[in-house]
């Protein structure tokens, strides 16, 4: 019977064509076109490529010799490690703590999650104000605590820290919610049994919660790593054009910088290809490290 009603296949096309046409036109075609573009010469944004570069791989040679590319890759890798340890790590601790308290679970869930709802651009502005040299909230706070000299949070050595802190802070709640959902799926009977056997709270966290959470943690790690490659809004708002001294470029912001600011569009396309390659390689690496386990 179930097969009967969907035996007539004609309507399928009507259902599928709009969405897939759209995907081909706006995702697949541009994606391959972009790879082509990276070998060609484009005068300005909006004009189409007319001829190949001479030699056609010029952009990629330039990339290897471009110090900023290496800075951007280095910063992105640092960003990845920071998000992995900072976001997922803090989220695990918070989730385990919230799971073990009685009251207020819903409250903490709501409060921890809400930075994600706010646009990263607005948060960038907000943190610009917090980290003002003369005098944002942080410097006023430090002054009140007895620190006599103001800290320039946007100076060269410390700029990366100032940029990563908000990015990390914003997404902790996201992984927190995923992890707490995972914890809720662990059956109460296991904890019951452990308590009867005389296990302390810490022991049941160590021997029940954490092992059973392994796959969820694995998912979170992959998301954190691939997410770090897509970060754009907040760094660009806080540190436009890689300032100070082009030291805070990430792969995404550097791609934008070349496409929109220096009008070197085809080089921007080549950088986009680099982002894709990095994404594929790194998610393979993370998958290999945190291989999913079956229980």
């Amino acid at each position: 019977m179930g097969a009967n009603i969907y035996r007539n296949k004609k309507p399928v096309f009507v259902f599928l064509v709009p969405a897939f046409l759209f995907m081909i036109l706006y995702l697949y075609y541009p994606f391959f076109k972009n790879i082509m573009n990276s070998f060609m010469h484009i005068k300005q944004l909006g004009s189409s490529a007319t001829s190949f570069n001479t030699p056609w791989y010029t952009n990629y040679v330039e990339m290897i010799h471009d110090d900023n590319v290496w800075t951007a890759i280095k910063n992105t890798l640092i960003m990845m490690v920071v998000t992995l340890i900072g976001q997922v790590g803090i989220a695990i601790i918070l989730a385990l703590m919230v799971d073990n308290i009685g009251r207020g679970k819903q409250f903490f869930k709501t409060v921890f999650f809400f930075p994600i709802v706010i646009s990263a651009t607005a948060l960038g502005l907000l943190f610009n104000l917090l980290f003002l040299y003369d005098k944002g909230m942080v410097n006023q706070l430090l002054e009140a605590l007895g620190k006599s000299q103001l800290t320039d949070w946007k100076a060269e050595g410390i700029a990366m820290f100032t940029m990563m802190l908000p990015v990390m802070w914003q997404y902790v709640g996201f992984y927190f919610v995923i992890l707490i959902t995972g914890l809720n799926n662990i059956s109460d009977e296991l904890y019951e049994a452990a308590r009867i056997d005389g296990a302390s709270t810490l022991q049941s966290v160590r021997y029940i919660s954490l092992p059973l959470l392994h796959n969820v943690i694995c998912t979170c790690s992959v998301l954190a790593v691939t997410g770090a490659l897509k970060v754009f809004d907040l760094p660009w708002t806080m540190f436009p054009k890689g300032m100070p001294l082009k030291s805070t470029f990430l792969t995404g912001t550097y791609m934008y910088y070349h496409t929109m600011e220096t009008k070197n569009v085809d080089y921007g396309c080549a950088l986009a290809v680099l982002i894709v390659v990095l994404g594929i390689v790194l998610s393979k690496v993370v998958n290999a490290i945190f291989r999913e386990k079956d229980y």
């Binding site: 484009i42 646009s119 610009n128 005098k135």
Partner: protein, 286 residues
Amino acid sequence: MTKKRTFSIGRGVVYLLLVLWAITTIYPIFWVLQNSFKAKDKILADSFSLPLGELFTMANYRKAFDSLNIVNAYKNSIFISTMVALFVILLAGMAAYALSRYKFRGCEFLHTMVIAGMMFPVFATIVPVFSMEFSWGIANTGNWFPTMLSVILPQVAGNLSFAMVVLIGYIKGLPIELEEAAYMEGCNAFQIYFKVVLPLTKPSFATVAIFSFLWSYNDLFTQMFFLTRPDMYGITTLLNRLTAKEGTNYGLMASAVTLVIVPVIIVYCFLQKYIIKGMTAGAVKG
């Protein structure tokens, strides 16, 4: 969870740590809110006191409304995001229904296409999309509607795959008996979809719509390419230009941030259950 609770020092420490983290998420917002009611020099002198008595001023907000055209930016942003959400549920809903119910040759291939569609970073498609739309005459024109459309379309494409994955998962779980009953009554496939499947899929549509809306509302990257004229700015583009233009007028910045954040927080308070679900369902998209 019905674990037995006993009070202990350990529990106190746990609560303390949780409250500390909660303060880091709430206080910065509150800090900006209270300083948006103070004059610039007062912020620099003392940013921690409440804006009461002489400290209180609405000047920042007057300036924001006079010089920033923030109402217009809201109008643009809400129009774009609503359209994105509508298009996404319309297109993704139909495709998801066909993919989860019909078995046909190439079905597997289309599934793979959907999954792979989630992997394209926006960086890798934006330049060709721009030149494509430019050649159609909708990008970078001075007219309002084409400009809005030029942002809406790429954003729809960016959310389609994710929406389809979520919806396919949901529709597959619906009992097929209802559709069979409708079929027996003489409904055709379109009537079955619009009269039976669509109403049943509402919760999942809500999830997808909320996610697409918020994603589009908060997105800066795509908007920076297509919304280049001041009267076309959305909320995020406006904020971004504001940093460059008025970066030292801290009072104005604080009021602008407040004007952008507060409505979102209010909506979040009412719809948090759906929003949290929507955002984490979009986990695969990130």
